[in-house]
Amino acid sequence: MALASEGLQQFRDRHQTFIGSLYRRAGAAEWAVGTDVFAEALYRSARHRFSDAELEYSPVESYLDALHVEDLALALGCQAGHEGAWRAFVSRYRPRLYAAARSIAGDQDAQDLAGSIYGELYGLKERAGQRRSLFRYYHGRSSLPTWLSAVLAQRHVDGLRAAARLEPLDEARHEIHARRDSDASDPESGLVRRRYVAILTRVVRAALAELDPRERLRLAHYYLDGLTLAQAAALFGEHESTASRKLERTRQGLRARIEQTLRDEYRFDDGAVRECLTVGIEGWTMDLSRELSQETAGSDVQ
């Protein structure tokens, strides 16, 4: 605690003029956010981004300069329960919060999703007599609406994942039993199947691991999350035609790589490649649905 306040003091001394100009730019006074509170929020934001050592040498001011300080000041005002700040927040961002909830969760669940966040933003949960608002996790690194969308998306996704953990378990169990039975009735085919699954997983994992992370993420957007090209391109800040070209290249390269490895390293001919794929993929898919059903939930907002 002593260290933290010492760091804050140093931070303020070092960037005094700059903090002053940001304070004015943010219009923080309008929400009765004092210079101390504002400077501390900037310090927390910088601490969030840089390590102690970096804090001294990194271009902290250009980081601070890029912050959405107006939104940060508004969030600080809301957090402190300033009525004008709340009115401003509601009129500026409430419609967008609900619109984002609709995009994320659909019309049916949007109200619940947005409503729960709304309560947390206001700080319904009290701790040691103090309101604890969700706003304390906002550090001005993005606009307030985008951050709100991220929080909504996180709640929604974690909810879905928690629900998914409960449901497919039975189904996966059935599949596993069915497979054990068939394996037991024909031990040899069970052996072949396991061998193919092992080979296929090894080859595919290796091929995926060779990819640039961005390309792997691109594949996930495409294969698993069903994003449109426009949506996926927007996430990367790419042109849609560029994104389309890259996706096609990655997919083709990957298919070729997997097939080639099966032929070269495992000496598979046409028939063996086909069999390995067909049999291997079937077994692998079953393993996956079992594994996914046991996944654990992620962490909290922070």
């Binding site: 981004r49 980081y63 009129s91 419609p95 609900y98 619109a99 984002a100 994320i104 996790y137 550090h139 690194r141 993005s142 985008t146 951050w147 969308s149 991220a150 929080v151 998306a153 929604h156 996704v157 296929l200 595919v204 091929a207 995926l208 992370p213 792997r216 993420l217 594949l219 996930a220 957007h221 294969y223 698993l224 999350d225 069903g226 994003l227 449109t228 090209l229 426009a230 927007a234 996430l235 800040g237 790419e238 042109h239 849609e240 035609s241 389309s244 997919r251 990957l254 298919r255 097939e259 046409d270 490649v273 086909r274 692998w284 898919t285 996956l288 594994e291 992620g298 962490s299 922070q302």
Partner: protein, 346 residues
């Protein structure tokens, strides 16, 4: 490498399975980092660090997918995400082919002021307008040039001041959509005639006919309410209209957009462009080579496509004659209602 389709299919399934595998990565980023990522404002070392995490984390992938589905009206103001949707050439009907239909795209501009009016881009190519020849090709308007330059800078990612270039693009859109619209339409049509076949369809921008103004407002209001902004295909006369969008949704209005009825498109592909040469004939194209046609204004049938790439525009003159363009710039024409397709070089 074999081109055996069953092998190709199983390879695809294997890739999908590989991607689904449970990851054992470090903990997920806090939401303010995710939000900054979506606004493209992470520092480069942070970007590569977190992208490496996203590549192996299903939870984060799902989260980003949810973020990607948030309407542009709730997305960041200065990020390229809104502009790539609003400005992408695919949102505009190609000028090169004659069509009597109007296609109106509405993109809500998520400015910092919530009350900001939406950018309405109206693309049209009335039949009466003669196709300009390459020889008589005029200079593109300054707004169009500005737009292309801004687009280039964004694509290169070398722009030293993103806010400035975003502003430049916004200005360019404003000029395109409002002030310079009538001239740009002719100029863009001229420009496309001289362009190589590989380039994406060029835009033709014209002001909305006065009679359509109220419809445009209604659709803009829908969009502002956070509903999916999408494609509106308007038949000549403007009484009969279709709107189409993600997941194969099609709705029809027979009262100039006052009321809408859902129609069964028989597909779940995203629909990207349309053309309605009459009240009963409408062509709609979309992702994955999807081509839909209705010849009675109600029932839709899916036509055999010459390509599997995303189709980004269609221009039809009747139930038999239409030209389609794919995202990679390939163009095809049919004279027999989609029975056969002929590749077009221009």
């Amino acid at each position: 490498m074999s081109k055996d389709p069953s092998i190709e299919h199983d390879l695809e399934r294997a890739i999908k399975a590989g991607l689904r595998e449970r990851s054992r990565t470090a903990s997920c980023p806090p939401m303010d980092v995710v939000a900054a990522y979506c606004e493209h404002s992470l520092a480069s070392e942070e970007l590569s660090q977190w992208e490496a995490h996203f590549a192996g984390c299903r939870r984060c992938q799902q989260l980003l997918a949810a973020m990607a589905r948030v309407e542009p009206s709730v997305a960041p103001a200065a990020a390229p995400s809104w502009w790539s949707r609003a400005l992408d050439w695919r949102w505009l009907v190609p000028a090169a082919a004659a069509a009597s239909a109007f296609a109106i795209w509405i993109a809500v501009r998520p400015g910092t002021r919530p009350a900001e009016s939406p950018t309405v881009i109206v693309a049209s190519r009335p039949e009466t307008q003669a196709a300009p020849t390459a020889a008589a090709q005029p200079e593109p308007s300054s707004a169009l040039r500005m737009l292309e330059k801004a687009q280039e800078q964004f694509a290169k990612k070398t722009e030293p001041n993103p806010a400035e270039s975003a502003q430049a693009m916004r200005d360019a859109i404003d000029r395109l959509a409002k002030k310079e619209a009538p001239t740009v339409a002719a100029e863009a049509a001229g420009a496309v005639a001289g362009k190589p076949a590989a380039s994406p369809p060029a835009p033709a921008v014209a002001p909305a006919p006065r009679t359509l103004a109220s419809r445009v407002d209604a659709a803009a209001a829908d969009a502002a309410m956070g509903r999916q902004a999408g494609l509106v295909v308007i038949a000549p006369g403007a009484q009969v209209q279709w709107r189409a969008g993600p997941g194969g949704q099609i709705e029809q209005s027979r009262d100039a957009g006052a009321t809408w009825d859902a129609q069964n498109a028989g597909t779940s592909e995203d629909l990207l462009a349309g053309s309605a040469p009459s009240d009963s004939v409408c062509w709609i194209v979309g992702r994955g080579g999807t081509i839909l046609r209705s010849t009675d204004g109600r029932a839709w049938s899916r036509l055999e496509s010459p390509v599997s790439a995303d189709l980004v525009s269609v221009a039809a003159t009747d139930a038999a004659n239409a030209t389609i363009a794919a995202v990679d710039g390939q163009r095809f024409m049919t004279r027999d209602g989609g029975g056969t397709w002929e590749k077009r070089e221009h």
